[in-house]
Amino acid sequence: MSTQPYRREGVTGRVLRFRFDGRDLEGLAGDTLASALLAGGVRAVATSVRLGRPRGVYAAGCEEPNAVVQIEEPFPEPMLTATTVELYDGLVATGLAGRGRLADRPDPARYDAVHAHCDVLVVGAGPAGIAAARVAARAGARVILADERPEPGGSLLGTTETVDGGPGRAWAAAEVDALAALPETRVLRRTTVIGHYDDNYIVAVERRTNHLGAAAPPGVARERVWRIRAKRVVLATGGHERFVAFAGNDLPGVMLAGAARTYVNQYGVLPGRRAVVFTTNDTAYAAALDLADAGIEIAAVADVRREPGRMWAARCAERGIEVLTGHVVTAAKGEGEVTGAEIAPRTGGRAREVAADLLLVSGGWTPVVHLFSQAGGTLRYDEGLGAFTPGETRQAAEAAGFAAGVTTLRACLADGAEAGRRALAALGFGAPGVTVPVVEEEPAAAPAEHLWLVESGDYGTHFVDLQRDVTVAEVLRATGAGLTSVEHVKRYTTAGTAHDQGKTSGQLTGGVVAHALGVDVAALGTTTFRAPYTPVSFAALAGRDRGPLHDPVRTTPMHEWHVARGALFENVGQWKRPWYYPGLGEDPGEDMEDAVLRECAAVREGAGAMDASTLGKIDVVGPDAGVFLDRLYTNMMSTLKVGSIRYGVMCRPDGMVFDDGTAIRLADDHYLVTTTTGNAAAVLDWMEEWLQTEWPDLRVRCTSVTEQWATVALAGPRSREVLAALAPGLAVGKDDFPFMTWRDAEVAGIDARVCRISFSGELAYEINVSSWHGLALWEAVMASGEVTPYGTETMHVLRAEKGYPIVGQDTDGTVTPQDLGMEWIVSKKKADFVGRRSYARADTSRPDRRHLVGLLPEDPGVLLPEGAHLVSVSAAASVPSSVASAALPAVPPVLPVPALGFVTSSYRSAALGRTFALALVSGGRGRVGERLYAPVGDDLVPVTVTSHVLYDPEGARRDG
């Protein structure tokens, strides 16, 4: 027996083997999975999601609501429509019940994205799209023609229509080949435009090797996201056929009439042996005749209208096909699949059952207006079509062909060519004299009659949305509950929300709602169309932005040294900064705690070096540079002497700390300021914003030099001797090179600028060299043998011991310099600076503002988690007694427990021999000595509030 019993006689091709639901089957090259399943006689392909009913292939394109499958091999992919999966050798798939399964292994395929630009983007390579593209392309415009199918032609693929005297399909292929050969035209096959956004920004997904299965070449992106910016867009997106709500309209064997025609003509597959056709319009007659010509017996045509198109009726009569006018199919009959159709006069009367294994339905055609609507276009109801067509749009876009409501092939070709001409005119191109292809005169169509549902006493199997299993009964329940908007009915019933986004059901649902409410379909309107038009794989959207390319990793010139020495890294913004260096001490198996204690001790007792290259650096030049910095920093920068350095804090106009850093004065009109690592770009933007928008009169220019310089922070009581050895020409004595000054010098033979500043309280230097020499400097410092490399964790501990805040860690945009205990940095002398006015606001002088304080856990071994909240004794007593310690006084609970603040930094200190923390605490400076509690898990950890400066408060160590 043939493996393809339903293959049309005489159709041959390369045989492809595949497996579906455990059955070995065969198809032909050019098949979709759906057409191959039909050829193999597989009727029930999937199971419905809610009711578990068997479902068969219903459509022949992306609008398919039923045949949802999972590909198992060569690589698992869920929720694909069998009608859009191109068949390949070795395909293994299963039918789904509305839900797929994600792969349990990483996808080895490559996915990428590309930007493209064009004068005219044509979406859809059907008759109108090809006509538009050929006009635009021949005028020399840059044209992109995108079509979702592997083969161009659109509606021509499924019909026997002729163009220019030959088969339409061959005409389309030849035209598109000719277009692809033009230098400025790009043809994208297998490419679905999924989104049409502002300013004609178009997103499309090209499926490049999916159809090759395991034979897909490695290195070639499987799917590609196209991001297209088009000057003009022609939407030649065609239409989708809709069905009618009648009993059992979901049985396998019920199929859209146009789809059946496509299976016969394009794929050479017979979707059944004996068919009943149920239609509201003329288009199903063409399907019936093509099926009859292919050898399918047409048992009857039930036409809801009294008067079908005369020529169609005549052709049916010629073939002996019975046409029952004024009749409807009241029910599809059969257990598990169609075995017959119950036909009755529309006005009532005796029903009769006609045996058939195929029941074709046409409820009319709905233009694909998704993209037009997504892009903000309005829609208007077309009485003739019983559907919405494009209205106005503010985009440089227009619909053409059936998408615009144009119905005949001849008119679609002419409309497409006109759309192409209009696009050219809008772009200022001269329109070439391109002839419109010749097609046969088509018979005048008789008007359709828009029947949405076949009335019945029981609407339980009158489906409107096959994929969501929504029936007319549920729509009536919604309208019965008082819902009068299609948007509400959609949300109440879920109709139109499935993976197919209601392509076949949206208009039908609207029609049924209008019928139920007794209102006009036109007045009811449609639900909103949103991208994506068809489902997109997350892998395609991710593209190459995954793994190491997911986000840029910024590295310093010394990065490879840190990697080679086993440093662990901390992410600071996009930077990788060495966090700590485990195993560089005597114990190779050292953990973080031991490594950081060792590094801290080295800096406090000897010398350590940290890669500080990530600090932001901005060159500020101009006669008004001092004035400018005075306005941006809270303290005075104009009085800084050339050769000196000053710490500064920058606030927003609301008075909250924005950034901090140092300013070094290089010349009267020249400063170099540093920023925190994370804020380098923001501070430069901030400076430019004030200079450009508020103070254009200031003669100041700013330039980022963050990466011009590599910086080694050298810290510790022995750092002076290390520097002296590296820079023999530099006078390093305490008085020769005082704190907060800088010197140009040669360090390790490299031109350097050495700044005597400290972020640890120890004697310390920052050595800056051109970043090309950063690694060489670092290696020279390390080659001294005296210096321990340390990372950001040690830097944090050391600065926290000194009570130096980190912007962004100890501040969060709600903290003033005064809150940080830094009144001294806020100038009283300057008339104004950014933020000054806000310090006179009532809110910034509230006594209960959160202050930066130190915390000492009463158990010196307990490390508080950063972020832990702090409560007072009385509030702590209000927690359940099961967790409160017995030491707490018995005070009645007061709920809610007021949070007094939270821990911002918490470390183990080698110098203090214990743990400590910094915290923002309400009225904190007035609470020094007070005991607070940090709820941590089920425990309340008692802590004592202290000054935030815990180490060397006199500053005795900074000169070494």
Partner: protein, 92 residues
Amino acid sequence: MLLIACPWCGPRDEAEFHYGGQAHVAHPDDPAALSDEEWARYLFFRDNPKGLFAERWSHAAGCRRWFNAVRDTATNEIHAVYRVGEPRPVNS
């Protein structure tokens, strides 16, 4: 993805720009002369119209210039762009 016409560089993708809020909100010349309420209005209050809105943008990934744009907040159409210091175009 809006296409925004930088007054210097021409049309570029929105991703190259930073948004800067309502335009023509000048920093007060003498903040100290303002009442708390007036200062709070400057700090915290901005218009939020449906329709045309003059707003600031910075071509952050390009020439780093701040400029103003008149955008229809209901449709996202940008009706005019103009440089800092230039008056808001009439009819936009």
